[in-house]
Structures are given as structure tokens and as C-alpha cells.
């Protein structure tokens, strides 16, 4: 299986550097000001190599992630991981968008199945699913390395230079099933895995041990919450995410601090301590990096990264 590192992210992973990626979530709007500000913040932290640009997350319609990823990367200099889901596009449209991404200088795609249309804001939409996420990885790999689409039609001129990632189901049960899934994706050319958010380090370690044999570099997803309400939301409403009881109890205690500034500082400190230990542990277990999903909550990010890899 031919593989090259085209993106900064893939190059750093290849060089065995422990990498950090962030997350950007453009909305149903043509105004990207806020998202670009967050991208600039991430860029200024210095150690965030790239950031994912979400594609109709939870099947809520939003601005094209291709366009958003391009504009963000152009205007902020932060490398983007263009998220692309098969829920909304057939293989023709996917080829068009992958070529578009190549022409616009995007170097990473996260290939996703995507949430079903029935869960989102447009439940009457026809879900496409012409391909699934493994087929999309296959398509991208063939376009990049063979210059052909799935039907063997040739790309004229230079090929897109793109590394492709896949989502990791850290809570998949049984994990054995997840390992088989990832083996298929490895077979068709997945370059890296980014997992969903996990709070319990034991679960992250269990996952890393299980997927080790697949051999795809894995970035563990974390989500430092800014408040008790946010932690609670994760535990209660995000399918498949378990927030440990001690973590919730500690956040509950901190939420009772009346002075806002003190509370904020305490929560930040807690997040830093908790996630520095967490990341050190997953790093020991062979994780290639961490995907930090705290959108719009920059306070703990720099100290967490410094706590792990120094200034």
C-alpha cells in the first residue's frame, strides 16, 4: 500500500512527533468571522498542527466544509482537515469535491459516514450513502495514488495530494468489531484515526491497546468542558460518551463556587491537571496525538499542551 505524507499533520505523525489537532465548526451562515477568530486562536497557541472543519455536523445544515476549510486555511494559515461525509453526496459529487480540495491546496480529509439525515434539521432529506466511509477512503486513495476514480476513470493532469483520516469509535462495543472495521480501512489506505471525545483514560488506553495491531496512527479525542452544564450535556446527550462519575462530581462542586472569576480559574486548573495526566498516559500507550474538541474555550488548551510536551 503506497503512502506519502502530504500535509503538515501527516508529516509530523510520520516523524513520530506527538501532534495536537483542534476543531472548527462553521454554522449555517456565510459569515466565517467567528470561526476564523477561533482558528487564529488555535494557530497562536503554536502547537496545534491542524484543525478539523466539520461537515454538516449532526446533520444540521451548514456552509460547505470545503469552502470553509479553504477560506480558513487561506486567511489564518492554520492547516485544515476537511471533513467530508457520504450522507449528502454520491460518488460523482465526492470526486468533484476531492478534486476541488486538491485544487484549493487542502491536504487532509477526514472521511466520514456522517449522521443520518433523520437526526438533523432536515429530516425529510433523501440520505445518499452511495458510498460508506471505507469506500470514501478507498476513493480518495485511488485518486491520490492511481489518479483514478472507483470506476477507473482517469484524472487529467496532476493528482490531488491528500492524506485521509477516519473516525475512531472509542466506545464501540465489542471493541473487536471496531478493530475489524479499522483493518478494512487500513487496507484501503487510511492514514490516521481521530477518535470521538473520551473522558475516561482507562477507556482510551483500552482502545489504544486493541487497535495497536491495525497500525494506523491514532489521535485520541478530548473535550475539556468549560462548565458543569457542558460536561453534563456530554454525559447525557452525546451517544456513546461516558463521563466518569468522579469527573462529574468534581465539576458539580466547582459549579457551586459563586465568584465567577474564581470558578473559571478553578475549572481551568482542573482541566489542565486532568488532561495533562490523561494525555501523558495515552502517549505512553502509543497514541500519535490528541484531537482537542473544545470549541471556543481556549483557556486550558495552551497549558495542557505545555504540560505534556513543554514550551
Amino acid at each position: 500500500m503506497e503512502k506519502k505524507a502530504f500535509s503538515e499533520l501527516a508529516k509530523k505523525i510520520e516523524a513520530k512527533e506527538f501532534v495536537f489537532t483542534g476543531e472548527l465548526e462553521p454554522h449555517r451562515s456565510i459569515d466565517l468571522t467567528e470561526v476564523k477568530e477561533w482558528a487564529t486562536t488555535l494557530k497562536e497557541i503554536g502547537k496545534i498542527i491542524a484543525a478539523n472543519v466539520t461537515d454538516n455536523p449532526r446533520s444540521d445544515s451548514a456552509i460547505s466544509s470545503l469552502v470553509a476549510a479553504y477560506l480558513i486555511q487561506r486567511d489564518t494559515g492554520l492547516e485544515c482537515v476537511y471533513q467530508l461525509r457520504v450522507t449528502d453526496r454520491n460518488r460523482l459529487a465526492l470526486v468533484s469535491d476531492i478534486l476541488g480540495a486538491g485544487a484549493l491546496g487542502l491536504k487532509n480529509i477526514l472521511a466520514l459516514a456522517g449522521d443520518h439525515t433523520r437526526v438533523g434539521t432536515t429530516p425529510k432529506a433523501k440520505p445518499v450513502f452511495d458510498l460508506d466511509s471505507a469506500n470514501l477512503i478507498d476513493l480518495i486513495h485511488r485518486m491520490v495514488y492511481e489518479g483514478k476514480d472507483l470506476d477507473g476513470n482517469e484524472i487529467h493532469g496532476p493528482r490531488p495530494e491528500i492524506n485521509v483520516g477516519t473516525a475512531g469509535g472509542i466506545m464501540a462495543e465489542p471493541l473487536e468489531m471496531e478493530v475489524f472495521k479499522l483493518k478494512r480501512k487500513a487496507k484501503v489506505g487510511a492514514d490516521f484515526i481521530q477518535t470521538q471525545a473520551v473522558f475516561d483514560v482507562n477507556l482510551a488506553v483500552r482502545y489504544l491497546k486493541a487497535v495497536k495491531e491495525v497500525g494506523i496512527p491514532t489521535l485520541i479525542g478530548i473535550f475539556p468542558p468549560r462548565s458543569y452544564a457542558q460536561a453534563e450535556f456530554f454525559g447525557k446527550f452525546v451517544p456513546g460518551v461516558i463521563v466518569p462519575k468522579e469527573f462529574m462530581d468534581d465539576f458539580k462542586k466547582m459549579s457551586e463556587i459563586t465568584d465567577k472569576a474564581v470558578r473559571k480559574e478553578k475549572i481551568k486548573e482542573y482541566n489542565v491537571n486532568y488532561f495533562v495526566d490523561f494525555i501523558k498516559e495515552v502517549r505512553k500507550e502509543g497514541a500519535a496525538g490528541c484531537h482537542i474538541m473544545a470549541v471556543g474555550y481556549p483557556d486550558p488548551i495552551a497549558p495542557i499542551i505545555e504540560g505534556v510536551i513543554g514550551k
Binding site: 460518488r91 449522521d115 452511495d130 460508506d132 472507483l150 462495543e173 451517544p239
Partner: protein, 224 residues
């Protein structure tokens, strides 16, 4: 009316090769061309011949039933004891019913189900389970169809929406007017496939990467 087309002999023989004793089950119901006793007997001989050509031996017994799409009937009509494997001459529904009713004995499809005609029937809940895709995968997926039992029709599932073995999308139970009367949590099709293949010691089939579905045969309007 359900139209089926024979799978290539090599593909069918590939399903049966690891086994010694085969029960070939015809279906006298709506499948067209007919896939009853005569056709079951023909396939029984063909499979024995295919084995002999390869220097092997399998024993095939041919029977038929009134229809394979009824769990209750199948339980009563078919006694598969003494056979290691079933070859179903019926449509994709029949294959899935046999796998469900006799979990100890894998049932494989001899047909690609290519077309389901209109048939007016209102007898309790009906499960779709076969969409006559014309490229039957049941032989590789433990007799459980991913195209109809996965909400996303994934070829390489499950997706991240499989939580505790259940699909994040509840199935909508509709009345005869087409109105939703109930939403029911359903099993994730790929989770079922995983467990079934594990029980069959065929997780190699789960690990296999599958190419996308060929949708060119679904172009409307269709005629046979």
C-alpha cells in the same frame, strides 16, 4: 411477484464447499421463474457434480415448501436435522427467514433477487429485509442483509451510530395509510452480522472490505 436470477454456480458452490451435507430448499410461492422442487433437485445434482469435479464429495437432499417467507410455516415444514448447511432457492426474504429460524445451520442464497412486483397483502407487521437489489450478499453476511437492515445501507458497517448494538435511527412503524404509528428501537444490522459471523467462525468475512453497491440496476422505471 418476486423475480430471481440464479447466482453463478461457482459462487454457490463456494458457499457450500466447506460442508458435507446440504439441504436444498425450494419455494413454491411467488418466486418467478419457479424455484420449487424440480429446481431444487436440479441444483442438488449440480452441486454434487461441482464437488466431484473438484475431487470432493457433498451430499444434497432436495425438498420444497409452500413459502419460505413465513417463520412459523418454515419451523413446521423444514426439519434440517442431519444437514450442515441449507441452500435456499427462494428470494432474499426466504434466506433470511431460514437463517433466523435455524441459527445453528447457515443458509445461503442460490439466487439474486432482482425485482419485487406489487402484491397486495395486509397481514400484521411486514419486515422489508429484502429490497431485490439483484446482487445478493446474504452468503457473505451471515444471512442478514446490510442493504435493508442498516439505516445507511453500509457495505462496511457498522457506523458510529451503533450504540449497545442498537441503531441510532428508530424504525418507523406505519399503518396502511403510510402514517407513522410508532417508532421502535431496532438492532444495528451490522452488529447482528458481526455476532452471526462470529458464531459461524467466519469473522474473515466481516473483515473483508466490500466495494460499493452497483446502483445502475436500480434505475427507474424498471421492467422485466
Amino acid at each position: 411477484m418476486i423475480i430471481t436470477k440464479e447466482k453463478p454456480i461457482e459462487e454457490i458452490y463456494g458457499f457450500l464447499e466447506p460442508f458435507g451435507s446440504v439441504l436444498v430448499v425450494g419455494c413454491d410461492s411467488c418466486t418467478q421463474p419457479p424455484r420449487g422442487l424440480r429446481e431444487a433437485e436440479t441444483y442438488a445434482s449440480l452441486m454434487e457434480m461441482a464437488a466431484r469435479v473438484k475431487g470432493k464429495e457433498i451430499k444434497c437432499e432436495a425438498i420444497t415448501v409452500v413459502r419460505q417467507c413465513c417463520s412459523e410455516g418454515v419451523k413446521e415444514w423444514i426439519k434440517p436435522d442431519g444437514h450442515e448447511v441449507i441452500l435456499s432457492m427462494a428470494c432474499g426474504i426466504g434466506v433470511q427467514v431460514l437463517n433466523e429460524v435455524f441459527p445453528e445451520i447457515p443458509a445461503f442464497p442460490a439466487q439474486n433477487t432482482v425485482f419485487v412486483g406489487w402484491e397486495e397483502k395486509r397481514e400484521g407487521i411486514m419486515y422489508e429485509n429484502c429490497r431485490a437489489c439483484g446482487d445478493c450478499l446474504l452468503g457473505e453476511t451471515g444471512g442478514i442483509c446490510p442493504r435493508t437492515r442498516c439505516a445507511k445501507g453500509m457495505m462496511n458497517g457498522p457506523c458510529g451510530g451503533c450504540i449497545d448494538g442498537k441503531c441510532e435511527i428508530p424504525v418507523q412503524l406505519r399503518n396502511w395509510r403510510g402514517e407513522v404509528v410508532e417508532e421502535i428501537k431496532q438492532d444495528c444490522g451490522w452488529y447482528l452480522i458481526f455476532n452471526r459471523l462470529k458464531a459461524m467462525k467466519r469473522l474473515d468475512l466481516f473483515e473483508k472490505y466490500r466495494e460499493p453497491t452497483d446502483y445502475s440496476i436500480w434505475t427507474n422505471p424498471r421492467r422485466i
